[in-house]
C-alpha cells in the first residue's frame, strides 16, 4: 500500500498560519505514513509555520496521535493549536 498523499485539516490559528483550511499533502515515499511525516510535509508546504506546527496536537478519527502513530489511508489528520477556552 503506497499512500502518495494525506488530507490535512488545519484549525483556528493553524489555518490562519497555513492560509488554507484543508489540503492534501504529498507523503509519497513514506511507508507507513506517520503523523511525523505529515508534520514535515506541512512544514515543507508552509515554511513559516514552524512555530505554530510545533504547538499543534494531531487528531485522527477523534483520537489524539503522537508523531510515531501511523496514519491509515483515507484518514484526515487534523492539526489543532493549543486550546484557549475558559
Amino acid at each position: 500500500m503506497d499512500t502518495t498523499s494525506v488530507r490535512v485539516r488545519y484549525w483556528a490559528g493553524a489555518e490562519a498560519a497555513a492560509g488554507v483550511q484543508t489540503e492534501d499533502l504529498d507523503v509519497s515515499g513514506a511507508n507507513p505514513v506517520t503523523v511525523g511525516h505529515v508534520r514535515r510535509a506541512a512544514l515543507a508546504a508552509h515554511p513559516t509555520m514552524g512555530d505554530v506546527l510545533a504547538r499543534c496536537s494531531a487528531l485522527a478519527d477523534g483520537r489524539r496521535l503522537d508523531d510515531d502513530a501511523v496514519v491509515a489511508e483515507g484518514v484526515t489528520v487534523e492539526l489543532l493549536p493549543p486550546f484557549a477556552g475558559g
Binding site: W11, A17, D51, V52, R55, L80, P81, F83, A84, G85
Partner: protein, 144 residues
C-alpha cells in the same frame, strides 16, 4: 454525580439558569464560576475590543466527558450536581465566556469540583480564542 448541563453554545450564558439546574433541597452549598472577557490580556498589547471563540466539532461531546470525568474523580459518591457551559462566537469585553455551577451538601466539594471543572475545560476543551485590540491587531491565544 448528575451532570445537568455540559455544553458549548453560540449564545449568551445565564448563570442563574445553571444555579437553578443544580439546585436541590439536600444540597446546601453551591459554588459557581463566571469567566468573562477582559479588556487586556498578556498575549496582546493595548486594549482588547472583542474576541472570537471557535470550537472543534467535538467540543460539546468533550465538555460532557470533562464534566463526568472530573465528577468521577472528585465525587466518587456522586452527590454533586454539575452544570457548565462555554460560549463560542464573537464576544465583547465583559461578555461571559464560561459559566460553571456545582452544588453539593458540603462546601469543600462544591468549590473543589467547580475549580477543577474550569481548569479541565482550559486544558481539554477544543476551543480557540482569536483576540482583537483597539489598534486592529489580532492574536490567536497560545500561539504568540
Amino acid at each position: 454525580m448528575p451532570v445537568l448541563i455540559a455544553d458549548v453554545v453560540d449564545a449568551p450564558l445565564d448563570l442563574q439558569a445553571h444555579l437553578d439546574a443544580v439546585e436541590d433541597a439536600r444540597q446546601g452549598a453551591t459554588a459557581s464560576f463566571v469567566g468573562a472577557v477582559r479588556n487586556h490580556d498578556p498575549q496582546i498589547d493595548g486594549e482588547v475590543t472583542h474576541l472570537d471563540y471557535s470550537a472543534h466539532p467535538s467540543a460539546s461531546e468533550t465538555m460532557a466527558h470533562i464534566a463526568s470525568d472530573v465528577a468521577a474523580r472528585l465525587d466518587p459518591d456522586g452527590v454533586a450536581r454539575i452544570a457548565v457551559t462555554h460560549r463560542v462566537g464573537r464576544l465583547g469585553v465583559g461578555d461571559i465566556a464560561i459559566v460553571a455551577a456545582v452544588s453539593s451538601p458540603h462546601r469543600a466539594l462544591a468549590f473543589a469540583l467547580c475549580n477543577e471543572l474550569v481548569e479541565e475545560v482550559k486544558r481539554s476543551l477544543p476551543i480557540w480564542k482569536h483576540q482583537h485590540n483597539t489598534d486592529g491587531d489580532d492574536v490567536w491565544s497560545g500561539l504568540t
